[in-house]
Structure formats: structure tokens, C-alpha cells
Symmetry: C4
Subunit: 203 residues, 4 copies
């Protein structure tokens, strides 16, 4: 099986998951809200959560593309791994809403944990997808670029641990944990702005 | 008519139907829910239903791809059959929500029946779509692989019966019926993990 | 401008509009509905409306594809015409919900009128899009098939009038009008099943 | 990185953001609304806002296509700029709903400001995306058409200022500001109808 249709399906899920995030902002403003101006200011965490998750999903889409650029063909295991990866990514709109709604209330800890566990699961599935394709060059193109291949490998291994660390912070301070997730997204944008003029590498 | 644009449209419906499933999980957590942690644990059937249906739709997407890899061209009947097939697949988010919400209540039986009937209808439409294209090689590529063609045929015929069996179990025990549908999805993942390293075959 | 990216965008809108239809069925079942079985039977007009609109959007997708198969290039007018056409198609989930909810109540007449006017507008935009491209072969491929071109022209001209007729019936009997729209969708499926084995023609 | 997959992802976000706009109209009609006819007439600003935003997103899709037609390759900065641009575009369904719901009430000013700021941010990101690619022809195709390149540049620079002007009008009259945004969308349609028969240029 060529990988073209897998990319179409994956691009669809990435694009829909990112675009559905706006429904979370939407849900914060009830119909006929009195004092709309105050309400729009009050829900600023929704905007921050929207931006952080949109960028996170966008980064993951770039990462997925980087993987696929080195993969030549798909077998059934690889397809199932991709489906499970997309299952995690499509979960983000839910955990994003939890964080946006509860960051200022008593539900901040479970919300941060839910967001973090979803991120950890996504990072694990990224690793599973990549290593299944890359070990012994099982599904890679014959001309796969060794520098890119080892670059992806180096970049992916710490992923789940970084997200797990940010998640565990929630037991001490949910808000700090949530801020960390925002910082990780922001870091990518800033880092890309400074160093991103070179050839594309996974991040 | 070439089949490229049919695949784009179908991929879109598969991707959207799968990604919309998260709205069902979302609907289980009302805004400003008190005791968010307990609530997030309590709604675990929503997560299971989300995962099972996401994987089921993913499998169907793989199956659809397998069909299309053997089909060369589309006539109007084939397009209408595909539209009716996609109509069934886009119905899954609704029946998934019914199951997730009602598996623990008095509505478990109608929810399981609705989910099962939708699955049966989908499997029937898969058969109709495939056999219309495959009988007398009507729409198949001249170089269609006979092994894959007979493999699809063998794999599809029992589909509606398996789903019908799991559906009828709901009259005895709705929960058993729902578990069966989860097991069918899980089975595919496990089976693919063990045997899925070979060339892709329909499942 | 080549037409490839226009088709991707259009396919996306068609696929999303069709898949969003399920949210209308979803909205008919409130959370924790008592007596789910009865409710699921009671809302059968939602299923019928879902199926009729899904098939209608599917037919329009086929029609759009037929147009694009004869079009070689797009200018800005043609793009704007397409955007306005897609604007009408994306309106269907709303009017479909109106019909499904109100067919049995005092709102049947406005619901049928809204559905009908949306269908008339869509048919008019289909004509505008097609004739802008086809008159004097402005945007058509040099090798456009004259039989298909005149077939599209013949098939599109009566479209707005047929839908307008079905809409006006709503003033006498909203239910009859709604049934007519369902019959038009069903007619296409039946007609395609009987005659659709030949080369694709617009319907 | 080739730009093909970026276009698929972007087309997905454009198509979904445009199609989700109908949910705003939908939310204006509560279930089992009494006197549906009156209600459907009363919510006419929803239709106008739907049409204006659908066309605005459609125009932006055309503009994005025009940019990509001149771009040969993407680096990481360009991808991040595109993700941030799409982030702004996916925000439109939210601000559109605010305007549609509040144009006749005390929330008209904050609604118009929110809509306007979203439009300004989108226009700024369009400029950032374009100038990053175009300055010193960094990412442009070697054969990029100088007339189109300078046409895009000329057309994009005033964009943020025009939208900022229309936004600031909201402090004097929110309704006038909202009408201005509608006029800008309408202007494009009319202008394209009159002059759009020539080769495609950015607008």
C-alpha cells in the first residue's frame, strides 16, 4: 500500500481536530450572555488553550509529515498504529476544553492530568509508529536520509518523558503544569522563528 | 470517472466521522461540573466507546482503501452505493453516543440495538459496494490481484452475520452485546499486531 | 489556476456538510433520556431527513465532479461562483434539522419552505456555475465531450423549477412538500440502480 | 518539503471553518421553538453573518492558493507561520456567532471588536506568511511571475489597515462596523463578477 491515502486521512483528522477546538471557545459564551464584553475578557484562558492546542496539533502534523517523508510503504500494523495515533490526536479538543474551563477552579488538577495523559499517550504512539517503521528500516524508503532518520529518533525518545514530567507537576500545582504545556507549544514557535530557516527537522 | 475524487470524498467522511466522536465524550461533562475528577472517572464508558468506534471507523477506512485499490473506474451505481455506505459510516457517532450514555442504564438494550443495526447496515453496504464492483470484474482493474479479490470476498461475506449475531445478543444482555462490539475492534488491533506485518489484506 | 485545489476544497465542504447531518439526529435525543427505545422510534423523521439530505449532498457532489471533469481552468468569477455554491450546500444541515424537528408540528410549513428555498438556491448556483464555465466554452477543456456538456445543460435547466415546485407545494401541504423532497432523493437512487451502469451522466 | 501536503492541511482547515459556520445559525433556533416562521425571519442577521463569513473564508482560501502557486518549498518557519494563519481563520466561526447574536443588543460593540480583531490578526498573518516567503524570493519558485508577486504584495499591505479601520468604527457605531465587514465581503463578489474574468489576481 502506498502512503498517499494514509496522508489524506491523517491530514483530515489533524485539520478537523484543530478546527474543532474553536467549539470549546464557543461553549464558554452562552447565548444572550449579558455583559458580553466582560465575558469575552473573562474567558481569556479559552483563547490561550485554543492557541496552545492548535499549535500543538499543527506541530504534530508537521512531525507526522516528517515521518511519512521517510516511509515508503505501509503494512497493516503500521496502519493500525497510525489509527491509534490519530485517535489520541482527536482527543485533544476534549482535554483542551477541560483545561480552559477548569484552570481557575477546583477541577484544575484533574483537567491538567487529563490534558497531560493525552499528550503522553500521543507522544508514545508517535514513538510506536516511528520505531515500527524505522527499526531495521522495515518500511523506510531505500533512500531515506540517515541524518533525518536519526534526527527523528533522537527527537522522539524524550517526548513522552517531557510530557510526563509536565503532567506530574499537576500534583504539586495544576496551574504550573498547564503553563508548562503552553510554554512547550510557545517554545516551538519561538525556536522555529530563530532556527527554522534551515531544512526541516523534526521537533 | 476515475476513482481519485471518490477517495478524497470518502476519506473526508471517514476522517470527519472519526473525529466527531470526541463530541460524544465532550457532551458527558457539563460546564462547570462540580468534582471534575470523579466525573472524568465515572464516564469511562465514553472513552471505551470512543476508542472502539474510532478504531472501527479506521478499520473500515482501511477496508475501503483495499476495495478501491482493486477498482479501476466508477459508474453511477457504484457512486450511489458508496454514498449509501458513507451514510452508514457517518451514523456511527450517534449510535456510539447512545451506547456510551446508556450502557449503565435502562436504555442499554435500545442503545446496543441501534449500534448493532448501524454496524449491520454498514457491513451490508460494504458487501453491496464490493460485489457490485467485483462480480464479473465489472469495475475492477484488468490487473486486479486474484488473491486480494478473493480475499476481500471471503472476508466480507461473514461481516453482516457476525455483527447481526453481536446485535441479537442485546436481547439477552445489552452489556454483553456492547462488550462484543468492543472485542471485535480490539481483536483487529491485536490480530494486526501479531500478523499484520505481511502484505495488507482486508479484515 | 488549475482546478485541482478547487476540487479538494469543494470535496471537503461536501464531505463535512454531509457528515455534520448526524448532529441533527444527535440533538433529538437529550442526555439521560428516559425510555430511550420509544424515543429512538419516535424520532424516525430525523433518520429519513438525514438519509435524504445525505444522499442529496452526495448527488450534488457527483454533479460537481461531472462539471469539473469538463472544466479546464478557473478564473476568479468561477471561484466566487463555486464559493457561493458551496455556501448553499453547507446550509443544508440547518434546513434538514428544521424539517426533521418540525414536520409533525405547527412549524412544518416554514421548515419545508426553508428547506425548499435552500434547494432552489443551490440549483440556481449550480446553473450559474455551469453556464459561466460552459457558455462559449469559456473555461471548458478543448476536448470537452459535447454529449456530456449538452447533457449537463439539459439536466440542470429544470433543476430550480423542480425544486421550486416542490417548495410551493408547502403552502398547500408542508408534509407533501417534504415527502416530495424525499422522493426526489429516492428517485435518484432507484433510477441509478436501474440505469446507472452506463457511463456517468449528470442527474 | 514540498508544499502539497501543506495545501491539503490548509484546504481542510478552510473547508471545515467555513462549513462549521452553519452551527451558528443552528444555535439560533432552539429545539421545539414555538412560532418557527417568525423565528426564522427574526434571525436574519445570522444568515447575513453566515454568508459574509463564508465568503470571507472563501476569499482567504483563494488568496492562500495564490500565495502557494508562487511558493516552491516550505521551511519550518513557513510552516509555523501557516499554522498561525490557520489558527486565525479557524477562529472566525466564533466571532461570526458573536456578531450574529449580538448585533441587535447591548453586546454589539464587543462582538464587532472581536470580529474585527480576528480579521486584523488574520490579515497580519497573511502578510507575515507572504513576506517571509517572498522577501529575497526566499521560498519562491525560480519562475515565479513577477507581476503576480508584486500584485500580491500590493494587495496585502493595505489589508490589516482596512480591517483595523473597520474595527475602530465599532467604537462609534458597532452596527456600522459590522455592515462595513459585510460590504467588504460583498465588494469582492461584485468586483469579481465585473472584473474577475481575467487571470486570477489576489484581492
Amino acid at each position: 500500500m502506498s502512503t498517499a491515502r494514509l496522508e489524506t486521512f491523517a491530514d483530515g483528522v489533524f485539520a478537523i481536530a484543530a478546527t474543532l477546538l474553536i467549539l470549546n471557545v464557543d461553549a464558554q459564551v452562552v447565548r444572550d450572555a449579558p455583559n458580553l464584553g466582560e465575558r469575552l475578557v473573562h474567558i481569556w484562558p479559552s483563547y490561550a488553550a485554543y492557541a496552545a492546542s492548535f499549535i500543538t496539533i499543527g506541530i504534530m502534523w508537521v512531525n507526522h509529515h516528517t515521518i511519512m517523508s521517510q516511509v515508503e510503504r505501509a503494512d497493516r500494523r503500521f496502519l493500525v498504529a497510525n489509527i491509534c495515533l490519530l485517535l489520541c490526536i482527536a482527543f485533544f479538543p476534549f482535554t483542551t476544553r477541560l483545561v480552559a474551563e477548569h484552570v481557575r477552579g477546583s477541577g484544575a488538577e484533574p483537567a491538567a492530568l487529563a490534558y497531560g495523559l493525552c499528550a503522553v499517550a500521543t507522544a508514545l504512539m508517535f514513538n510506536a509508529t516511528w520505531f515500527y517503521a524505522a527499526i531495521a528500516k522495515r518500511l523506510l524508503r531505500p533512500d531515506a536520509d540517515p541524518a533525518i532518520v536519526s534526527g527523528i529518533t533522537r527527537a522522539y525518545i524524550p517526548g513522552p518523558w517531557i510530557y510526563l514530567g509536565a503532567t506530574l507537576v499537576a500534583f504539586a500545582s495544576p496551574v504550573a503544569s498547564i503553563i508548562l504545556f503552553g510554554v512547550i507549544a510557545l517554545f516551538y514557535v519561538v525556536e522555529s522563528s530563530i532556527f527554522g530557516g534551515a531544512a526541516i527537522e523534526p521537533a
